[in-house]
């Protein structure tokens, strides 16, 4: 093997490495490259993408309206019409088109999942940010602020999340918002503890000490040094929490705490409705069940892959 040196003044020697390998890549670009190489991440991403597309373009995917019960005459206590050319997945027990219900159900799940996770993320991350920021650089006063916030969060954490969600939904009444708030509230402690924890560990790092040695203000150290290094795990957790949120929406609907409007298709309520016809038409329960499971799996795979990709220990 021989290495030929380029003539003087020629292009720099790259020794066969592509340009970007030499100059390196930023944290997020590198993470996405690693996500792309991981088969389960691709599977997760595809599931998530299909789910989102179905949810967004639901009206284009079906000619019918959800919860119409147009064909209720064809449904009898002992038979529910199965798949046909007009109704790809047959009818449900109320006489609505099952495919339409499934497609619009995806839309509900996405909206509930995203909104409730966003509520949990915003409230939880704010609490975690304040606690972590004060705890990381705040000295003695900061540590008492941190302790106070985190004890409140611990109280929230001590209540089982489903129970918390049920109580909130029960207090706020049976509507879509109470479900979102209930599920979001159950996620608050997760985000708060996660962000605070990673901020505290970043607060002990060398570059924070170095920033202190430069005389930078504490606020500046937290905002421009500690936070950017701490948000990664929180973003990953949000992806993973979308999966849990979708399952919890179904669970709350199953318990009868979701939106009561029958015109809104919802996978969890479809499960309840399917129960008493399970002997006649098991697909009515299996389809939404499988949809919930696959969607949750998709978000989990994607979130896990993102976590691995962002974790510096798994690099190279």
């Amino acid at each position: 093997m021989s290495i030929t040196l380029p003539p003087a003044g020629g292009p720099p020697v790259t020794l066969g490495l592509p340009e970007e390998e030499i100059h390196g890549v930023s944290l997020w670009r590198g993470a996405f490259r690693r996500v792309r190489r991981n088969p389960s991440a691709i599977a997760g991403a595809i599931i998530v993408a299909v789910f989102v597309l179905v949810a967004v373009f639901a009206p284009l995917l079906t000619p019918y309206a959800p919860g119409s019960a147009e064909w209720s005459g064809q449904v009898t206590p002992t038979s529910v019409p199965g798949p046909s050319a007009d109704h790809w997945l047959g009818l449900d027990r109320f006489g609505s088109d099952m495919w339409t219900q499934m497609v619009y159900g995806a839309r509900q799940s996405l909206v509930y999942g995203v909104v409730s996770t966003a509520i949990g993320l915003i409230v939880g991350a704010t609490l975690g940010l304040v606690a972590g920021g004060f705890g990381a650089v705040g000295g003695r006063f900061g540590q008492s602020v941190d302790t106070f916030i985190m004890r409140c969060v611990d109280v929230m954490l001590s209540i089982p999340s489903l129970l918390l969600a049920v109580s909130i939904a029960a207090v706020l009444g049976q509507n879509a918002y109470s479900v979102m708030i209930a599920i979001g509230a159950a996620q608050v402690p997760i985000f708060a503890r996660l962000l605070r924890g990673s901020m505290l560990s970043q607060g002990r790092s060398d570059y924070v000490l170095a920033a202190g040695a430069l005389g930078l203000r504490k606020k500046r150290i937290v905002v421009s040094h500690v936070v950017p290094n701490s948000v990664g795990p929180t973003i990953v957790q949000a992806t993973l929490n979308l999966a849990t949120a979708i399952i919890e929406v179904a669970a709350l609907s199953y318990l009868g705490l979701g939106a009561s409007d029958p015109a809104i298709a919802e996978w969890g309520r479809m499960l309840v409705a399917a129960q008493d016809r399970f002997d006649v038409a098991p697909r009515l329960a299996i389809l939404p069940g499988v949809a919930i499971a696959i969607t949750a799996l998709g978000f989990t795979l994607f979130g896990e892959a993102l976590r691995e990709a962002l974790d510096p220990r798994t690099r190279r």
């Binding site: 930023s26 944290l27 000490l209 170095a210 040695a213 005389g215 930078l216």
Partner: protein
Amino acid sequence: MPTPAAPLLTVRDLAVTFGVRGQRAVHAVDEVSFEIRPGQHVGLVGESGSGKSVTSLAIMGLLPKRGVRTSGEVLWGGRNLLTADPDELSRLRGREIAMVFQDPMTSLNPVVPIGVQVSEVIRRHEKADRREAQDRAEALLRQVGIPDPGRRLREYPHQLSGGMRQRVLIAIAIACGPKLLIADEPTTALDVTIQAQVLEVLKELVADTNAALLLITHDLGVVAGICDEVNVMYSGRIVESTTRNRLFATPRHPYTGGLLESIPRLDSPRGAPLRPIPGSPNQTIPWTEGCAFAPRCGNRIDECTSSPPPLKYEGDRDLRCYNPLSDPARAEAVQA
């Protein structure tokens, strides 16, 4: 030695104790006193765990508040930094006293571009806008010998090599023209060839800016290249303190002697065994009971383990030893 200028920094009887409730307190630094005059280069030498870095962090006021007791005085322009108000200290840090840390791999924020990290210290201490600070940052990177500084400013720390990162840290430290630069093992994490380059950069910069330098290291070679005065620390106390030439020519403390003996030399015959200091830095006795170095010392006498040796002025140096090395042959050689 008569000295014309008043000291820039005076450390007097500095003691740092780490204590966790229910456990025995650790005296990391005790009875440490030294002075740094404007433009002077002072070395603080010792093994790992001898209290060098703790001393530097105490000067900067960067030790954690919890579980740490600090006493003594760190005088800077007539003020005691140990009791100074935190805001005042933070205005001082980075502007008048700056620090270069040991590990360039972890001392730069991995998710913030180099340019922001260099310019933020300028913007903190001087009324410079973003544009101005960015231009100054570029000039600084050029000054520390980083090629293509314009592009480097937009890059992230992991895109730079260790030597380049250490140069960036040096650039950040000198950004506001400090009067004192504290360099805590600035070359330990680097390859030997890079070490030399980085030291050269450091040396030139302190010469150009006329800053004083407190160099903390375990590497006597580095000290020999840069420092005027050297303080040797062992187990949290200064054991020998003198000028560089005297220290290297006639080490008097057995520990200093041992450090010099343990450096491999190119001109020693091949096969000649290296002579390390026996034992490990963990084998110490508390200074309150005697000399901490006694368990490893070849010159030990009974007195060493019965009472702590005081730091005494011995004509040309401060020395903390009951039975110092005397090396008339080397002493004569230097005088000749």
